[in-house]
Symmetry: C2
């Protein structure tokens, strides 16, 4: 199974999913699956910024001794964003509409992260 | 009802809650309720760092046109942290044990934020 199949599977399982990607902490997407164009949201740019924030959260976790970061979620009026660590270099990011199924999104990302990791 | 009563109410309603606080974006806690001492976690320091991250997320939201940020969650091996906006200057932060009730925590913060806002 390729990354893309995993990403398509995530998007198809979660109500309100807009797009899912495997990204590096440098903000570069390895693979992305968009359900449909999101005209008013520039997800690529949003995700680059969020990758930067996630990097800071990771660094903070080491200093603050909270244990490794597993998950970050940033919810705003127009988009819910869930991020789940895959490895020290990569993470999964899922964009949902504000009415999307947040709980299911978290669950599916948690189940998918080890499958993606196995293929890295 | 004072802030403290709201914070006590949040902590008592959510399984696994460790502490809850009303904080300013400058990282200064207005009021905090701890359920019990958390010997291995310096929550005050963690929250100052997270307030800084939340400020960056807010600024990014304006640039990225995602609409206002409503919620941020940072989950690590030792602690789950939920943050919910109350006003442009203040937010609620809730620390949970990693096995705490995440969904209930989100719900209770969402219900509590307008009550806290009404008293600011």
């Amino acid at each position: 199974m390729s990354f893309l199949s995993h990403l398509e599977s995530v998007v198809s399982q979660v109500d309100g999913a807009l797009a899912c990607s495997v990204m590096g902490f440098d903000g570069i997407a390895v693979e992305t699956h968009h359900k449909a164009p999101t005209a008013d949201l520039d997800l690529s740019t949003i995700w680059i910024e969020y990758a930067n924030i996630l990097t800071q959260v990771k660094t903070a976790a080491e200093l603050l001794k909270t244990g490794a970061v597993t998950e970050l979620s940033i919810n705003s009026e127009k988009v819910i964003t869930l991020m789940r660590m895959v490895s020290p270099e990569y993470f999964l990011v899922l964009a949902l509409s504000p009415t999307g199924n947040y709980g299911k999104g978290r669950y599916v990302l948690r189940m998918t992260a080890p499958k993606v990791k196995a293929e890295l």
